[in-house]
């Protein structure tokens, strides 16, 4: 028996005047998952999200909450359902005449009868968790874009909601900060176990934290499934939306998306002679959670970003191509290289990496967020050889299983 969706849209249509924004939208969102709605700008993603929280009402169709139609619910029941939901606005929607503390405390002050000391305790705990301690009594206009996002996130989480809606949480952020925010959402989702529904353009970064993807295209949901299933989705959406967003990502980071990586690998193998071997190297940043805990999301993402750039720069020069596979994992393909050649290339890489690379990465991270805090992290790498007939995922898994440490930073000193 299939489980009941937490939220379900059935044939939802929304018009503004004569302009139809959503047409016969059908979707399902399940409890405890991170669901991301992707689509082009102006395709109606935010409108869709606003229907969930009740800011907009559909012209046609029904919205179900835990299997029960919202239109059939009585007012107190709707109110109690919607009370479980928090919303993080695209533009943050912070009250600019209130300090960070007051912004975060507002829902508790206005909707609960908690004592001031209890409100203080809860607000300060969230402020600490979102790394806003230094900004408690500052106003939103005095904060950077990233800090404002964190304030909005802290405010959304202050009432311990069961469902949190994120409307483009990474808009206007640089690539590192974008990943830091996504990483923060993923971390809090695991920590507080809420259901996250997110609207985002950040392809493929959102894949790393999402359990399900919903694709909004031409006013309707054209795809619902896992990020892996989306890769095999044969639809104009893939060409028009995914490709354009992935190309942008390539320009920003130098890394290919997983789908492009596989396509490129396939193309390279086809160009080579039949049966020619190739190698795959998998790099992993170990102890990512410890890095986040001691240095914060921004620095952790800066380290990951710097590793990605270093790998791409090194292997890109000799015909290799790379992708980011997980939040802390990169895969590089070395076409036309057998195991002996690949090991030689890797030995050179490790030598350079230990002499210079790891110091450069650490310096880059320090530039963004100078810290005296002690940090300990390692970079591991593993190689595996593959045949063109073998599925690349199994070669990547094999390489991952053969990883060993190629560099380590202990309290800011490289080893």
């Amino acid at each position: 028996m299939s489980k009941t969706p937490l939220i379900e849209f059935k044939d939802i249509t929304k018009r503004f005047g004569t302009h139809t924004v959503l047409k016969n939208v059908n979707l399902q969102i399940f409890e405890g998952e991170v669901t991301t709605i992707i689509g082009l700008s102006g395709s109606g993603k935010s409108v869709l999200l606003k229907h969930i929280i009740g800011l907009l009402k559909p012209d046609e169709g029904t919205i179900f909450f835990r299997g029960k139609s919202l239109s059939e619910m009585k007012k107190p029941e709707i109110s109690s359902s919607l009370r479980q939901i928090s919303y993080m606005f695209q533009g943050n929607a912070l009250f600019d005449s209130l300090t960070v503390y007051d912004n975060i405390a507002l829902p508790l002050k206005e909707t609960t009868n908690l004592k001031k000391t209890e409100i203080d305790r809860r607000v300060m705990a969230r402020i600490e968790q979102t790394e806003l301690t230094e900004a408690v009594y500052r106003y939103p206009s005095e904060l950077s874009g990233g800090m404002q996002k964190r304030v909005a996130l802290a405010r959304a989480l202050i009432t311990d909601p069961q469902i949190v809606l994120f409307d483009e949480p990474t808009t206007g952020q640089d690539p590192v900060r974008k990943n830091a925010i996504l990483s923060m959402i993923a971390q809090y989702q695991r920590k507080f176990n809420f259901t996250a529904i997110m609207v985002s353009h950040e392809i493929p970064d959102v894949y790393f934290i999402s359990n399900r993807i919903l694709a909004l295209y031409d006013k309707s949901i054209v795809f619902q499934g896992t990020p892996e299933e989306l890769a095999n989705f044969d639809h104009p959406f893939n060409d028009e939306v995914i490709n354009s967003l992935e190309s942008l990502q390539k320009e920003l980071t130098g890394l290919y998306s997983q789908r492009k990586f596989k396509v490129l690998n396939h193309a390279q193998l086809k160009r080579g002679e039949t049966g020619e071997d190739y190698c795959v190297v998998v790099f992993t940043l170990s102890d990512l959670d410890a890095v986040i805990a001691s240095l914060g999301h921004d620095t952790a993402q800066e380290i990951i970003h710097a590793i990605g750039l270093y790998i791409d720069k090194h292997f890109g020069a000799i015909g290799g191509f790379s992708t980011r596979r997980k939040t802390n994992e990169f895969v590089t393909a070395l076409p036309y290289s057998n195991m002996v050649e690949a090991e030689k290339i890797m030995n050179d890489f490790v030598k350079d990496f230990q002499e210079q690379g790891i110091s450069d990465i650490w310096k880059e991270a320090q530039k963004r967020a100078p810290s005296d805090k002690c940090v300990d992290f390692a970079i591991r790498a593993g190689i595996a050889e593959g045949q063109p007939v073998t599925e690349i995922d199994s070669i990547i898994d094999l390489a991952e299983s053969q990883q060993k440490e190629i560099g380590r930073v202990r309290c800011g000193a490289k080893e």
Partner: protein, 283 residues
């Protein structure tokens, strides 16, 4: 129905008018405007009643006090300044006019009754509209366009209770108090010019006031102040709250136009309602 809509002609529309429609479109146009006006009036009354009802909810006291400070205490200086010079010029003009008839003994009554019955409530309301009313529209309007009001909805905080009720209640408290300040300082202004500057006997001035001003004059003045408070606060909050529904513009420009519209509408309604309330009070 669709056929009927198709046959309508609207001035400015690109569709070619059907012959004969020229006879009906003026009625259509006027009817549309009148019905629109009545709709807005109805919405504004519901807006006011909802806001007043929500004043009597928990956690409202501190918000009302804060708004009384902003609308009331914050406007005291400007009200005192305006009232002082109004009283002074009134004393000056009245002295020269009355001296021609040898009736300067009635100057205190003239100054005080003019201020208490008319100038005090009207000028106080206009000054608060200019200072606080415009700020209320702009503040609420910006909160609307920057999704802060939507954010309140998502946090299950009633925007009416949080934003509108305290402002309307604070206006109803502040307007009569500031009117009293205006009246008092205005009478002192009249004293300064007529007694200190022009040499009228101080006893004559004060006796003229105490013997001619009665309680009804004061209560009538305060009734007007309360009516103006309701009008100004409702118009200014309404314009800001529904700024996103304006058809003539969007965003920051809409906030600017809403602010202008709030000030102009408030001032016109103050003068119109002043006539209506005065007529009713004199019956």
């Amino acid at each position: 129905m669709a056929e009927n809509e198709k046959n309508q002609y609207y001035p400015g529309s690109e569709e070619k008018p059907v012959p004969g429609m020229f006879l009906t479109w003026p009625f259509n146009f006027i009817g549309e405007k009148v019905i629109g006006g009545i709709n807005i009036l109805g919405m504004a009354i519901i807006f006011l009643c909802t806001a007043l009802w929500k004043t009597f909810r928990p956690k409202q006291f501190s918000k009302v006090v804060h708004q009384v400070y902003y609308i009331g205490a914050g406007s005291t200086t400007i009200i005192m300044l305006v009232s002082l010079f109004t009283g002074m010029v009134l004393g000056l003009q009245s002295y020269h006019a009355l001296s021609q008839f040898g009736a300067v003994g009635g100057l205190g009554a003239l100054v005080s009754l003019s201020l208490i019955r008319e100038l005090g409530p009207v000028l106080t309301a206009i000054m608060i509209t200019a200072r606080a009313g415009s700020a209320i529209t702009a503040e609420v309007g910006i909160q609307r366009i920057s999704e802060q009001i939507d954010a309140l909805h998502t946090m299950r905080i009633d925007p009416f209770r949080y934003l509108i009720s305290p402002r309307i209640t604070a206006a109803i408290i502040s307007f009569p108090l500031l009117t009293a300040v205006f009246d008092l300082i205005g009478i002192i202004g009249g004293y300064l010019t007529s007694v200190i500057l022009l040499g009228l006997n101080a006893g004559v001035y004060s006796h003229s006031i105490t013997s001619n001003v009665d309680m009804k004059d004061l209560t009538d003045g305060f009734i007007k102040a309360i009516v103006f408070a309701v009008i100004v606060a409702t118009v200014c909050c309404y314009q800001g709250y529904f700024v996103h529904m304006r058809k003539d513009s969007h965003g920051a420009k809409a906030v600017g136009l809403a602010t202008t519209s709030a000030v102009v509408t408030s001032c016109v309604l103050i003068l119109v309602s002043d006539y209506v309330v005065t007529s009713l009070l004199l019956v």
